[in-house]
């Protein structure tokens, strides 16, 4: 790098941060208006009391919780189920958690990818019962694999409008979104951006799982108003 480039880098970084923040807030404003195209009235009704909460969260002003502490916290255990913990994170509530003395064995990706679809879902639900754990450094390989799967095969299917597994895609999108919250890694945020921009006809098929769809959009709403990327 030449001296001129090196000296101008901080100036350019300031400019990048400002422009990025502006773009994310513009998308947040757009999401506030357009989320109803994705989560239908029927979907909201099927969520019961949660539906009202989701509606209020997506429609109101910017709310986000800073989860970066999780990086230093180590492996966490939750009393609640995966979905209840994800609900708390998505709606910026507190997550009941306690530090675990031990971390689970690293997940062998080769074995994981050979499991059946139901087994893979079960592994992810159990391992990330406290979803914040996906943000830990020890989970980088798993997170990278989920990101790759989303951005390569899953993206191709959704872009082509072919059949896809809505629950699996939404599960990955939620985990990738949580990883973005904890690590502030722009690549994970952008995977969520990218899926939000996919053809509506594909996204609408995700209504088959209204809970995960709602949580994903709430996590996205938080990511968009998160500063300091």
């Amino acid at each position: 790098m030449d001296l001129e480039t090196a000296l101008s880098r901080p100036v350019q970084l300031d400019c990048c941060e400002g422009i990025l923040r502006g773009a994310l807030l513009t998308r947040r404003a757009e999401l506030r208006k357009s989320w109803r195209h994705l989560v239908s009235t029927e979907c909201l009704a099927s969520l019961g009391a949660l539906g009202k909460e989701v509606e209020s969260f997506l429609s109101r002003q910017d709310t986000f919780r800073d989860w970066r502490f999780a990086v230093t916290f180590g492996w966490m255990n939750c009393g609640a189920s995966f979905e209840d913990s994800l609900y708390a994170i998505a709606l910026a509530h507190n997550v009941e958690r306690r530090q675990s003395g031990t971390s689970p064995e690293p997940l062998c990706l080769a074995k994981f990818n050979k499991l059946s679809r139901d087994e893979r879902i079960e592994v992810l639900y159990n391992r990330y019962r406290c979803p914040l754990n996906i943000g830990l450094a020890s989970e980088s390989d798993v997170a990278e694999e989920l990101l790759r799967q989303l951005m390569v095969p899953d993206r191709a299917k959704l872009e082509a409008g072919t059949e896809f597994d809505a629950e699996m895609v939404l599960l990955k999108l939620n985990l990738v979104g949580v990883r973005a919250m904890v690590t502030r890694d722009l690549r994970y945020l952008d995977a969520v951006n990218y899926f939000y921009e996919l053809p509506r006809r594909s996204l609408i098929r995700m209504r088959s799982n209204p809970r995960l769809l709602s949580f994903w959009l709430c996590i996205y709403a938080q990511l968009l108003c998160t500063p300091e990327w």
Binding site: R9, L13, L147, L186, D190, N193, Y196, E197
Partner: protein, 238 residues
Amino acid sequence: MRVAVIAGSISGGFRIAREMESLPGVDVFVVACNVGKRGPLLRWAREILAALKSLKRGALAATTYRYARQGRLIILHHPLDEATSIERLRSLQCDVGLHAANVIYREPVISAFRLGILNAHIGILPGYRGRCVAEWSVLQGDPTGVTVFFIDPGIDTGDRIVLREFVPSRGWRSVQALKNMLFRCDARLYRKALEALMSAEFSFESNEVSNGRRYYVMSRLLTGAVNQILATTLIAFG
């Protein structure tokens, strides 16, 4: 040194081959492969269209004739991975392949070349692997440029880097303009890489994959932000 340009079209192959021709001690071949397994009609229609787009049609025809007469233009009718194509590549006994086709190389194709296949990646390795790396570099305030390295079957994970050249993004108004400029550096940098490989004191740089990250196609939202950054930098720095 025997070098083959693996190209998606004849004219694309010649664009790179021309730059190598004047290198002393280098014999250049052009291998035109059938990207996307197109039928003969579609394939040749594309070739003719590419030739018509070329400003120097006469020169292109003359070069095609010259290469064909000397047995240095190889047209593969089957996909690159097929045994007949690999056998044809091996028969050329080339030292280095130069990537200029939109294909993914598997191990048998790579090992058909004594040293391997070079790729001019439009990002700085090991930091930026994968897709849209030019725009990701701009967004994260990192230098843009091109890395020429020997590929392996992974995504930009080949261990042997021949050269890295920093090419500033300043002065380019949009992501597309910046990427076009970086892509156009390929022929010049392949030549530079071959010169380096032939020099006595050359040694590879290692592509430490653990020091970088894989990037993916960028969303419209962030691409818009990068366009804005480029435009702002252009105004600010002239």
